[in-house]
Amino acid sequence: MTGTITPRDEKDIVEAVTAAASREQTMEIVGHGTKAGIGRASQTEITLDLSQIKGISLYEPDELILSAKGGTPVAEIEKLLADNNQELSFEPMDFDALLNVQAGRGTLAGMIAANLSGPRRIKAGAVRDYALGVNAVSGRGEIFKSGGRVVKNVTGYDLSKFVAGSWGTLAVMTDLTIKVLPASEDAATVLVLGLDAAKAREAMSAAMGSSCEVSAAAHLPERAAAKITGTAAAKAGRALTALRLEGIPVSIAYRKAKLEELLKSFGRLGALDRSETLSFWRAVRDVLPFADKTQRAVWRISTAPTEGPKVGAAITAATGAEVFYDWGGGLVWAEMPGLLPEENAIREALGGAGHATLMRADPTMRASAAPFEPLDAGLAALIQRVKVSFDPKGILNPGRMYAGV
């Protein structure tokens, strides 16, 4: 069979995958399709629509765990958590603005499969750090489980974390258990105005290396800063280096004073209050500086913080791209001036010191670039063998990350 299959339960998924495996038919696994534009374009015979495999089955705030079906909307989970003063600490991004998709969409399994974490990554960890347990259907059509519903567990290989970031190429995630944490009572942001990227990185390293417990550190050059409307900071018309503090008010007040003392030698200081802090970091998280309703190529590059500004400058010099920095300089967002991904310039600028992912591309240009960081021969062969161990016929999202995987 071809076309779209919309399973109602795990049994339907097993049937669909088993049938596809026996006929060696390829399957695209989709939730809400918010990230369909990311990765290598591929033609599959079947679309497996998981949007009806949904529902939160367990939420125990004082055990810090939540279990839900793979197709559960992340927005529904975040709403429930917020009602209990908890949150997804890794700050998953909403792709609506950057990728021109519907707002507030995206599923739990999609979030895990992409493993894309937001600004709090530097303090709280990545999506995968919160993956505690998974039930999934392998490419053999077998339901397997890994992990559990407790926050501390080393029983067997950690396949719950391993499927994070695999973009649906290993297994169809049906049930997931994640760790949740209390949300901070209050938040504030310290700004340093008018720094260049290199100096900003020094300021951010100083802040991150202090005991101020900075929960996010970003640098927006003047052009990017100007595009984040609605905050007083954006109106300053200068580059912004922003450091977020979260916690209880008495702690924030103390750390803010300490951080300002630490940073005053770098440049003029500013500050964002709680509500400005929320909207500013949401803008950084959702890459609003590049949310321009175009299909200009956008790259997301993870490297060592000290390398970030060098990589950013090299990309800009080679392509004229606009860049901004998150993760204390270790995450570079780059928007190309046109539709061309300019992959060679990106890879050359990074020089293998991290990984670059093509996050937005015009459909006509998508095939012209490898969207994920190329692997050396040894790792590529290893990853290929691991793929086969889950999906011997290569039917699940084949080629989404790499050819043959």
């Binding site: 004082d62 055990e63 003063n85 908890q86 974490s117 990554r121 960890g125 995968r128 053999r140 077998e142 339901i143 397997f144 489980k145 890994s146 559990g148 407790v150 926050v151 501390k152 567990n153 080393v154 029983t155 067997g156 290989y157 950690d158 396949l159 974390k161 391993f162 695999s166 209390p182 390293s205 991150m208 290396g209 202090s210 005991s211 417990e213 209880i248 008495v250 702690s251 750390r255 993870s302 060592a304 000290t306 390398e307 993760w327 270790g330 010191a353 991290g354 990984h355 670059a356 994920f372 960081e373 692997l375 040894g378 790792l379 290893l382 990853i383 063998r385 691991v386 161990s389 790499y402």
Partner: protein, 496 residues
């Protein structure tokens, strides 16, 4: 006692040639083949199990590791990697027909990078050695297993080690940025670096906690953190373990994640107090140590909140540390709990299940019942914040059948942990110890999938066989195998 894979007589017959080949790769004193020389390697922290290896090799360079593994792969020789040998689950237990590959000479910190908050270390550097290397600048490496003075970072990666602070700061897997690893074929791969997340599959997630079955780690890049400005501890006694458990739930429910939150039951309290005189109250059934860290103003406010919660939960005693000396004294009893309990009997057996915290009263009740059934005493220490329970079963190995009873007692506890929704091991690993209990948590399909992953790294099953998995499957069979309804299709295959 669990059974290990049958000895490969063909390999044993070639022992002299193997020793010669390894000596050619690692010249000098790097190869040990005498019985007295190998004796220190016959066991790890799970001392009930002892086995001399065929030969010990202690390489000094990654090239040597690569050549050793390549040789063993070509010659079909089993390899057991070993750090400091502090595993509590038998992860480094040698095999009589295997090469014991010790990483103790990989003991250098290679790079300290404060700007990127990362340290690159060789795998034989101790856990505490990393923190010590960066302490003068006020940094530390967060995961702190009790054995941190001896255990190595390579071993921590293999076991995904935790510690008393991992509720707030995470386990090894959450604090590692990259590794260099040698595959059994001798191939050297590098994964991650000083940047966050991996490109491609998250192989670090697999390698952390893989118990030496996937590869030999030869370099580790870890994330370091700035030390908190202040840390203070509360010592709270409760008339019942239910009240203590309730207090833990309410603290977390109030949105407070303490730096550490430990519980001890009455036998553990008595033993610890008798051993280190920490000033623990002796008229309570459960004792909580709650540590709060951060800026002083924050710590003070949280101490107040926690105190109020504890009183509302019916605490019978409550003390707050007023000096660093007193805080360390509160911890001294807990940190010495294992040796303290060890003074009560010639031997003790440490278990490591994790349970949903609210099931603690049920689990403690069951442990008491089992204690009577098996006629062995038990003391409980508990990483209360994350539900990781360490029952310490007291026994005397010189008395007939006591070890056997202790092992059965321990297995029953772990089965009950799984029954209430928990897991077999929170931080000590499966090793040989819990290997045969794996089917209580996983069915054949789950285990077959894990073993297929193992095959992707080690297609001949030469790295640390006999650990983690209760049944050895050949990789070719696993590739063909289709498990129906959780039933294995090859019932004739050897089970341990």
């Amino acid at each position: 006692m669990v059974a290990m894979p049958a000895l490969d007589q063909d390999v044993l017959a070639r022992r002299a040639a193997v020793v010669a080949a390894l000596s050619a790769i690692v010249p000098g004193e790097g190869v040990i083949d005498t019985e007295t020389g190998m004796r220190p390697y016959e066991s790890d922290g799970l001392t009930a199990y002892r086995q001399l290896p065929m030969v010990v090799v202690l390489p000094e360079t990654v090239e040597q590791v690569s050549q050793i593994l390549k040789y063993c792969y070509e010659q079909n020789i089993k390899v057991v990697p070993r750090g400091a040998g502090t595993s509590l689950s038998g992860g480094a237990l040698p095999l009589g027909d295997g090469v014991l590959l010790g990483l103790s000479k990989f003991n250098r910190v290679l790079d300290i990078d404060y700007e990127n908050r990362a340290v690159v270390a060789q795998p034989g550097v101790t856990n505490l050695g990393i923190s010590n290397a960066v302490s003068d600048r006020g940094f530390y490496y967060a995961p702190d297993p009790s054995s941190q003075i001896a255990c190595t970072i390579g071993g921590n990666v293999a076991e995904n080690s935790g510690g008393v602070h991992c509720l707030k700061y995470g386990m090894t897997t959450n604090n590692i940025l990259g590794v260099e690893m040698v595959l059994i074929t001798g191939e050297i791969v590098r994964i991650g670096g000083k940047f966050l997340d991996s490109g491609g599959y998250d192989l670090l997630a697999l390698i952390c906690g893989s118990e030496g079955l996937l590869g030999v780690v030869t370099e580790v890049t870890v994330r370091i953190l700035k030390k908190p400005e202040t840390a203070r501890a509360l010592l709270v006694g409760f008339p019942t373990s239910e009240a203590a458990g309730d207090c833990v739930a309410k603290i977390i429910g109030a949105g407070i994640i303490p730096g550490g939150m430990e519980m001890m039951d009455r036998p553990a309290i008595m033993a610890a107090e008798a051993f280190v005189h920490a000033g623990y109250p002796l008229d309570v059934e459960a004792l909580l140590i709650v540590e709060l860290d951060g800026p002083e103003a924050e710590v003070n406010q949280l101490l107040e909140s926690v105190s109020k919660i504890a009183e509302a939960c019916g605490s019978s005693t409550l003390r707050v540390s007023t000096s660093e000396k007193e805080r360390l004294k509160f911890w001294a009893g807990r940190k010495a709990a294992f040796p303290a309990v060890g003074r009560l009997a010639p031997d003790y057996y440490c278990m490591d299940g994790t349970i949903p915290r609210r099931r603690l009263p049920d689990v403690l009740t069951r442990i008491r019942e089992l204690s009577e059934k098996y006629g062995l005493q038990v003391a409980n220490v508990f990483h209360a914040g994350d539900g990781n329970l360490h029952p310490l079963i007291l026994y005397d190995a010189n008395k007939a059948d006591e070890l056997d009873r202790a092992e059965k007692f321990g297995s029953d506890i772990l089965r009950y942990c799984v029954e209430v929704g928990g897991v077999l091991t929170g931080e000590h690993g499966v090793g040989v110890e819990k290997r045969d209990l794996m089917p209580t948590m996983f069915n054949e399909i789950d285990l077959a999938q894990q073993q297929r992953v193992k095959c992707a790294f080690d297609d001949r099953g030469l790295l640390n066989p006999g650990k983690v998995f209760p049944t050895l499957h050949r990789c070719a069979e696993l590739g063909r195998m289709h498990v129906k309804g959780g039933k294995v299709p090859f019932p004739e295959l050897p089970r341990f």
